[in-house]
Amino acid sequence: MTPLAASAVAALASGPAAVPLASSPEYTLPFVGPGTYLIFGIVLLPVYAMVAAWFIGDPSDRFANLLGLGYLAGLTTVLWGSLFVATIIIGVVFF
């Protein structure tokens, strides 16, 4: 561990890990961070297994599989998109 990291950790939390327990997010970042790895790398494994099974197993149908994927992606977008619109409206009207 570099002295830099050591001092950062010492300043934050005297815990042994090099992960900052208390840090604020970096807002210029693209959508990448430890949480991204945790969620997309580990937690969503069953979902990956599911999608893989769709394509690999038998019987399989390309269109249906893509449709399923489309639903997954589309619904996520719609959910957050509509929430975003709602928050913007609330923000404009009330804040």
Binding site: P25, G35, V47, Y71
Partner: protein
């Protein structure tokens, strides 16, 4: 299997879509009324801030910062969670008896998750930042903050459940198309886009895998894990600690979900004369589950009370003592106990079974679990370890604004079912026809 509803015809299945009654309108009015009351209050909250609630700062402030909103949030998440587990269990374990109510359970999950989301929105002080603050922080915060984790998990469940529904509905809509209203043609065209009968088996497999993913992720993420984690992580409050919270939350989730499904299924059965489609056997089976989950719920409560008063650290002991001295706690426990006794009694003496009593019991259970959740949050917050403050324990009684939100979300669920049942069949075709029959 004692239940066989394959004799029911397709007409029965689409009855909700083809009829339009005054009673339906009345229900619609009630739903809109509930939502309207809530919106009226919520606009006030947006205008003036959370000061319109009875929440306040703990510590010198003499209040509690989380209350009915968070309690109701957990409650809805629990219902949603239990709903999807039950539906996934029907698919994975082939519990055909419950097939008539499987889709209702899925719909309940979607509606309840929506309500949980609504409660996050109205709980926070700055709802306008819910996306702009959350998304940029997500990659660095989700592994630390249970609340962020919750938002993630709710998204995942919502998307998986809705995908599930969207894929399975194609089969039914395609086959029942001639019985469905023409005004909605564009909707059906979108729903069934690219449908061919060849895909049935493929979709069957796909949804099996979705159910699989849901089941694997379910207890790990939601009521078995993260929500109790949300609380027991906190070093400040005595009442929230302990490993038993996980199972305890799960038991409450399942208990409330079964109750919810019983109520909704009974409502449809009553409204559309579905005595054959959703026969008594289904309810008797659900009643057994209700009794069983209630038993676990009560058992885990007992566990907490005993560990809480027997040689517990002072503040935990104090919190537990206060909890068991709260009448509402005993009302909640009593309601669940009553439901459990009734459920077990009917399985011993079937002549005691009456669907109206069962529905009444389910309502009681839902009330009891909501009360327990709110008490859990509030009493947890009232009894801080650091109780030097004269203002600790703080005082809290939900305000009309907060209570209206619970009514409003109930209204949302009712409205959701009223609207959805006019568009798609809320009971699967599979429930009344074997696959071969249909394909033939």
């Amino acid at each position: 299997m004692s239940v066989d509803v394959t004799g029911v015809d397709r007409e029965t299945l689409v009855r909700p879509i083809q009829t339009f009654t005054k009673r339906y309108l009345a229900a619609l009015a009630v739903a809109f009324g509930l939502i309207g009351v809530w919106l009226f209050f919520y606009v006030q909250q947006l205008q003036h801030g959370l000061i319109v609630t009875n929440l306040a700062d703990w510590g010198s402030g003499g209040g509690v910062p989380w209350g009915l909103y968070i309690g109701a949030f957990i409650w809805w998440v629990g219902i949603a969670h239990g709903g999807i587990i039950l539906s996934a269990a029907v698919r994975l374990l082939g519990m055909d008896t419950y097939q008539p109510v499987a889709r209702l359970a899925e719909l309940l999950t979607i509606a309840a998750l929506t309500c949980a989301g609504v409660f996050i929105l109205i709980h926070v002080g700055r709802p306008d930042r819910l996306v702009t603050s959350v998304l940029p922080a997500w990659p660095t915060r989700v592994q630390w903050s249970p609340l962020m984790w919750d938002v993630t998990v709710i998204t995942a469940y919502f998307v998986l459940t809705a995908t599930y529904l969207a894929l399975t509905i194609r089969y039914d809509v395609h086959r029942l198309r001639d019985r469905l209203p023409n005004v909605l043609e564009p909707v059906y065209r979108v729903i069934t886009v690219g449908y061919t009968e060849k895909e049935d088996q493929v979709v069957e497999r796909m949804v099996w895998w979705i159910a699989f993913a849901i089941i694997i992720m379910a207890p790990l993420l939601l009521h078995g894990g993260v929500i109790p984690w949300l609380f027991s992580l906190l070093p400040s409050m005595a009442g929230w600690h302990g490993g038993v919270q996980g199972p305890s939350f799960l038991s409450i989730a399942l208990t409330s979900a079964v109750s919810g499904i019983i109520i909704i299924s009974a409502a449809f059965r009553y409204a559309y004369g579905w005595d054959e489609l959703i026969p008594d056997t289904v309810f008797q089976g659900l009643a057994k589950w209700l009794g069983f989950f209630s038993l676990i719920f009560l058992w885990l409560q007992l566990q907490q009370v005993i560990t809480g008063i027997f040689a517990a650290p002072t503040t935990l002991q104090h919190a537990t003592e206060v909890k068991i001295a709260t009448p509402l706690y005993w009302v909640a426990i009593g309601l669940v106990a009553l439901a459990m006794l009734y459920a077990f009694a009917t399985s011993l003496r079937p002549e005691l079974y009456d669907i109206r009593v069962l529905v009444g019991m389910s309502v009681a259970v839902l009330f009891g679990t909501l009360a327990e959740k709110v008490l859990f949050v509030v009493e947890g917050l009232q009894h801080a370890h650091f109780d030097l403050y004269a203002g600790v324990p703080g005082a809290y009684i939900p305000s009309p604004v907060e209570i209206s939100a619970v009514l409003g979300t109930v209204g949302i669920v009712v409205l959701f079912f009223l609207v959805v049942s006019k568009v798609i069949p809320v009971v699967e075709l599979h429930a009344i026809e074997d696959h071969e029959e249909v394909d033939a």
